[in-house]
């Protein structure tokens, strides 16, 4: 068991009314799964993903991640936890504009205790694996959307996470580029990486092993 959510509630108070963003979510994820979260706009997909990624807090419920009770942890420990085990991929890539491809890949390692030589080796390895060695000195603005997202995925992977969270990873890409990224995810999943993605597309969702549907913050299936 990688993680388990029990009766998660998240809400905001607006004008004396409580608006639920997540309502009684129960979810358990095994290592090696590839899960797609689907649902219309505002159904709470991204919120759920952020809660799983520990970027967002929740108001009620329990969250266990690798035998740690996330809901009892302090901010700092939580940050250490996600730093170590989770990689993020964003819809709009969020590469750092003033860093080259190589440096973007290196960035997550800088915040962990890797030696310079280790970092170099890991970056080189990753460039190789994604076939982007030739682009290592280019800046994000010099790449196409698909290539940028490729770098985004590589960056998410570089610190060897157990879990990858992808928020509409292909939302800004054309269908060919989408397919490439999804194939990549499939390949990674086969290599043992657990993936949770948020998506609008049935086609992309089909790559996953399980689909979770959300509506108004509530799990419908």
């Amino acid at each position: 068991m990688l993680l388990q959510l029990n009766n998660i509630f998240k809400w905001v108070n607006s004008g004396g009314q409580r608006i639920f963003l997540l309502k009684d979510i129960n979810l358990s994820v095994q290592e090696g799964e590839f899960i797609s979260i689907m649902g219309p706009s505002g159904s709470g997909k991204s919120t759920l993903l952020n809660v799983i990624g520990m970027l967002d807090n929740f108001d009620e419920g329990e969250y266990h991640f690798l035998n740690e009770s996330v809901h009892t942890l302090k901010e700092k420990h939580r940050a250490n936890l996600y730093k170590e085990y989770i990689g993020f991929v964003f819809q709009s890539y969020h590469l750092l504009d003033e860093l080259t491809v190589k440096e973007n890949l290196e960035m997550p390692l800088l915040y962990k205790k890797y030696k310079s030589s280790e970092r170099k080796a890991m970056v080189a390895d990753m460039l190789d694996r994604f076939n982007i060695v030739g682009k290592k000195d280019l800046f994000p603005a010099q790449l196409s959307g698909g290539q940028q997202q490729l770098v985004g995925v590589a960056r998410a992977l570089i610190a060897i996470p157990k879990l990858i969270l992808a928020d509409e990873p292909t939302g800004n890409l054309n269908s060919k580029q989408s397919e490439e990224i999804m194939e990549l995810f499939k390949k990674l999943n086969k290599e043992g990486v657990t993936i949770i993605q948020v998506t609008h597309s049935e086609k992309n969702a089909a790559y996953g092993s399980r689909i979770i549907n959300l509506l108004d913050g509530r799990k419908t299936s």
Partner: protein, 810 residues
């Protein structure tokens, strides 16, 4: 990690070229200004450092009072003190008197007039220790007719020959032997002598008795102690000595006291009567330091505001970094590296600016800069510590704002409209900056006005086109040497007669001291022949019947002196203040009255209006004018016709050379000489103005950047409003509203503070301008106009965009 941080910082600078340039530019100008100010302040505080054991050298101020009322307090004092003090007070090792006289000095080849000759005692060189470069300090000044000269004077008089043992002649021909050479006094000393000679010479010629007395005020007195002692201890010892030698009961109730000044305090902290040179003012230095600090604040506020706003633009980056595991600590380090890099890279252009501008600045403002502190490691230690603290402080807030962004909002790419506390701080800082600009503008304007006011004030005399000739020094005579004085007078009469043959020259006069010069003769009391002593500071001036017409001074009652050898001796003309002092109700009442002044009985011949003979920082004293030809030195005055000045001057010169072939022809114009008194204030005003302009410039740089940033932030809002029908005026109002509000708040804060400080500063002057609210309003309006011009520029830029495209882009 550090290498990474540095590389990243450089890339950020490259991306934000405009803001980086403004930031570095502002910082560089600010730093350069501060370095220059430091050089100036350091020079002003480095006075007298050329003297060895400078902490043990003091000047003695003499204070005389009667019935608890101070009647004299000045740098000049009795000659007996220095003769006995080193024997009577155990911890005082040496003492010397110094008597100043501008003299004529003649060597074999050269003749120099108006030389700074000081007549001193033999211990002078032991007090001003370390200055002698040739000669024996024990014997160089131990007898009559010995002289020590400065290195540059030695060169001027004897070129490369060894000056020791040579003879120079002074004034009427006294032969002095050169017994030593001293270093030239540096620019940073109050005591700039060119020749040192002995008071024993006066004794030798029988002009003064060997043994001095306690009741004259003719000598500067300097002492050196054997160790550092408190000012109080020394004063107590001197006052005990004074009390034992001059008992008030035996001395007509007059009490003699002394005040000692550490010699290093003289330049910035002394304004007694008869200062050797116009001293600096500690207050002015503090004001200038204050302006320097204000400029630094403005620069740093620019930095904080710009960085904070920019760091919000970097919110997305920060969010991403945080999701990939960056801690706030690591992000802050990155930010500090950026800030340090920015500040340090501003130092280089600052140093270049200082290097290129320092000589220009020295010339323009007539100041000296001293950067010798750059050689001291302690200075560098302090500089590095202070610099680091400053940079840390100014980057603390932006770093805090930067790292406190919420991750989820940041990565969703939402621009964070600063939290309310955030904008308050930014607005507060802007108000601070506007306050400083407004304060300085008001100050600069008032200082300029006061200087202008003094230069253009109706003095009551007309200084224009009055040519002043230095009197013939070779004819100097003791005041009671009637034959010699008579000879000098007759020669002058001949000179005057010759000059007046030229129809362009209207009046010729002689006097002892000219307007703008320290007056030689002073008294502390006067009385009517049948009256009580009236205590007051009183001036006696020696002039002749030409003096009032030359200066167009008004005579209110009675008449001018008449040219009659017999009558002149006991007639006196007084000014209106003296008339009041003597208790006459009207000017007419005073005419013909007899008064006792000094040892003489005088009959009042006329009453003049009160006119200024000194700068407007001093009030007019009760003045008595006696009709005397100057027995020594003195000045001859000629009123010229404004047309064809050079022709008249050539005529005067040839006449002078004919009648006084022995004496050099030395002239200057009375108005220029008089206005020299205002140099100090003019210089202060000029520095103040320049600094104010700089401060406004730097503040404006920051303002431009701020406006540019808010414009980008508000671009969409403005576009939406325009699509919905807002016209150009509405856009302008929208963009300028908040700035106008801030400037008005700043004006309300700055004006009262400025009023308070300027009122205080104006109290330095006996005659001063009034403060009006208009000056304050003008200053605020000026700053407002400049800000609005900047805003207008950006408004026009915004208006050029098609609002539809901006909305579509979003």
């Amino acid at each position: 990690m550090l290498k990474n941080n540095l590389k990243l910082a450089l890339r950020v600078f490259k991306r934000e070229k405009f803001f980086t340039a403004i930031n570095i530019g502002g910082l560089a100008i600010g730093f350069a200004t501060c370095i220059l100010l430091l050089g100036y302040v350091y020079f002003e505080f480095s006075y007298e450092n050329h003297i060895e054991n400078v902490d043990q050298v003091y000047r003695v101020i003499t204070k005389r009072s009667k019935n608890e009322k101070v009647i004299q307090e000045g740098t000049k004092g009795p000659d007996r003190l220095a003769q006995v003090v080193s024997d009577e007070v155990p911890f005082i090792d040496y003492a010397t008197r110094a008597y100043f006289e501008p003299c004529l000095v003649i060597s074999e080849y050269k003749k120099y007039a108006d030389q700074k000759v000081y007549w001193v005692d033999k211990d002078f060189l032991k007090i001003f220790k370390g200055t002698l470069i040739a000669g024996d300090p024990e014997t160089a000044l131990d007898g009559a007719l010995k002289m020590v000269i400065t290195a540059s004077k030695a060169y001027a008089l004897f070129r490369n020959e060894n000056p020791i043992g040579k003879i120079v002649k002074v004034n009427e021909g006294m032969p002095f032997e050169i017994t030593g050479v001293v270093k030239d006094p540096p620019a940073n000393t109050h005591f700039k002598y060119e020749y040192l000679t002995t008071l024993k010479t006066f004794v030798y010629y029988n002009w003064i008795p060997e043994k001095g007395n306690w009741n004259n005020n003719a000598y500067y007195n300097y002492i050196a102690t054997n160790d550092t002692h408190s000012k109080k201890t020394i004063e107590q010892a001197l006052n005990n000595l004074a009390l034992s030698r001059v008992k008030p009961s035996d001395n007509d109730g007059e009490k003699l006291e002394f005040i000692v000044q550490p010699i290093k305090d003289i330049h910035l902290n002394s304004s007694y009567s008869d200062e050797i040179e116009v001293n600096g003012s500690l207050n002015q230095i503090y004001i200038i330091i204050g302006i320097g600090v204000a400029i630094l604040l403005i620069v740093f506020i620019n930095f904080i505001n710009l960085s904070t706003t920019l760091s919000i633009r970097k919110a997305k980056d920060t969010g991403v970094r945080k999701t990939f595991g960056a801690s706030t600590y690591q992000l802050k380090i990155q930010y500090f590296v950026e800030a340090f890099l920015l500040n340090i890279s501003a130092l280089l252009p600052a140093a270049i600016l200082v290097f290129m501008s320092h000589s220009f600045i020295e010339e323009t403002f007539n100041i000296s800069l001293n950067f010798s502190m750059l050689l001291s490691p302690i200075f560098w230690l302090w500089a590095i510590v202070i610099f680091s603290i400053c940079v840390f402080l100014v980057s603390f807030y932006p770093a805090f704002v930067l790292t406190s962004v919420n991750v989820t909002t940041a990565i969703k790419g939402k621009i964070i409209r600063g939290k309310s506390s955030n904008t308050y701080i930014k607005k507060g800082l802007l108000v601070g900056q506007f306050c400083a600009s407004i304060f300085l503008t008001i100050g600069a304007y008032i200082v300029y006005q006061q200087v202008h006011f003094m230069e253009n004030y109706d003095l009551g005399i007309n200084n224009n086109q009055v040519l002043i000739l230095q009197g013939p020094t070779t004819l100097n005579a003791a005041w009671d040497d009637y034959d010699k004085v008579n000879f000098k007078t007759q020669k002058y009469n001949l000179f005057k007669q010759e000059l007046l043959k030229n129809p362009a020259l209207k009046e010729v006069a002689s006097c002892f001291n000219i307007p703008g010069q320290e007056n030689r003769f002073r008294y502390n009391s006067v009385r009517l022949k049948e009256g009580e002593d009236i205590q007051s500071k009183i001036e006696l001036r020696h002039v002749d019947e030409g003096f009032f017409p030359v200066y167009e001074a008004k005579i209110l009652a009675g008449g001018n002196f008449e040219k009659d050898e017999k009558r002149q001796k006991n007639e006196i003309i007084i000014n209106d203040k003296a008339r009041k002092l003597l208790g006459f109700n009207t000017t007419k009442d005073a005419i013909g009255a007899s008064i006792i002044l000094g040892n003489g009985e005088w009959k009042i011949k006329g009453v003049t209006a009160n006119f200024h003979m000194k700068s407007l920082s001093e009030s007019i004293l009760p003045t008595f004018f006696a009709n005397r030809h100057p027995n020594e030195f003195g000045y001859y005055l000629v009123k010229l016709d404004p047309k064809n000045l050079s022709k008249q001057i050539a005529f005067i010169k040839s006449t002078w050379e004919e009648i006084y072939p022995e004496d050099p022809y030395l002239t200057h114009f009375s108005d220029t000489y008089f206005n020299q008194q205002y140099l100090k204030y003019k210089q202060f005003g000029a520095i103040f103005n320049a600094l104010t302009i700089l401060a406004i410039l730097i503040a404006n740089l920051g303002l431009v950047a701020m406006i540019s940033l808010t414009t980008t932030e508000k671009l969409k809002e403005i576009s939406v409003r325009r699509v919905l029908g807002a016209n150009n005026k509405a856009v302008f109002v929208l963009m300028s509203k908040s700035f106008i509000k801030l400037i008005i708040i700043a004006g309300c804060i700055a004006a009262p503070i400025a009023w308070y400080f300027l009122k205080n500063w104006l109290n330095n002057f006996a005659y001063k301008i009034e403060l009006h609210s208009t000056e304050f309003i003008i200053a605020v309006a000026l700053i407002l106009t400049i800000a609005l011009c900047n805003i207008l520029y950006f408004v026009i830029k915004v208006l050029k965009h098609n609002p539809a495209t901006i909305i579509r882009e979003e």
